[in-house]
Symmetry: C2
Subunit: 174 residues, 2 copies
């Protein structure tokens, strides 16, 4: 990795080195994303393991616990868009959560009879409150070395990356 003649380039920077440097940093970036995501699932599942939960179930419960949707629940399609997973996968996760009694599928009270709204059960609400204690501690541990400003920075960059990647799944995957 020789990126030497970098700081003193009064004219046009050499195209070849620039492309090579970008590939190199992209490679490292995606490797870190891969590693960080592996570790997130590993440590996250451990953090909520005493509830028999996993990071995916955590994500679903977290989505359903948001004040804006706590009462009405979310349609499966909305959850798919929110979590960016496949329908087949989400169905399996929902099955497990429903089996554990944390979540229920109800027909939408309003118009559309095709929609099934997924909603937290009272038990799910209770378990989520308990999990929240562990989750707060998990966030504190994981981000202890990050200033709030840096957290925001990382969030924004990840958000843009997510946006770019979701465009690659096809124009409808927005």
């Amino acid at each position: 990795m020789n990126h030497l003649a970098k700081d003193r380039a009064p004219e046009t920077p050499p195209m070849r080195d620039d492309a090579a440097a970008r590939f190199d940093i992209a490679n490292r970036l995606f490797l870190r994303l891969y590693q960080a995501s592996n570790l997130m699932h590993k440590t996250g599942t451990r953090a909520v393991s005493r509830f028999g939960a996993t990071t995916q179930q955590w994500a679903v419960l977290g989505a359903l616990s948001r004040p804006a949707v706590r009462d009405r629940g979310m349609a499966v399609k909305e959850l798919i868009a929110f979590l960016m997973v496949s329908r087949q996968n989400l169905t399996a996760v929902l099955d497990r959560l429903e089996g554990a009694g944390l979540v229920e599928r109800v027909r939408a009270a309003d118009g559309d009879g095709r929609l099934r709204h997924v909603r937290l059960t009272p038990a799910g609400d209770r378990v989520w409150s308990e999990m929240l204690v562990n989750i707060r501690r998990y966030y504190e541990d994981a981000l202890a070395d990050f200033s709030t400003e840096e957290c925001v920075q990382l969030f924004r960059l990840l958000d843009r990356l997510r946006h770019a990647l979701s465009r690659m799944t096809g124009p409808e995957g927005e």
Copy 2:
């Protein structure tokens, strides 16, 4: 978020709101990490699908193709530390790669007879070169809206997060 204990000194920022804001941003951050990682696997696997590969196999081949280890290969233990996956999982991925003839397990030429070095086969080397064309295009597409400076920034933040999370797996997980 409702700001509760606001009756404190106007000089110091209210602790409660600060903690709530940090939790909120942490929550969004990890959701974005979850989403971005899902999308990375989805779009990445698609990018190398015509080689019958997946993102994990891509990661392994990428690790083995680095100039520093191209000839001697990497011990399984090194690969585990590098990719941060479990041994049981890596074994399965290596089995598939070995079955496809892209990778071989050889006894370490040097001292330790316990070590099996995983190395690219000539066929694996060839396939990797072809995959590289797709991978370069993938990186360009995914990071088109990012300046090189922003890529470095995101890499550094992810690297620190990876480090923090790996500390949480236990002191040996370094």
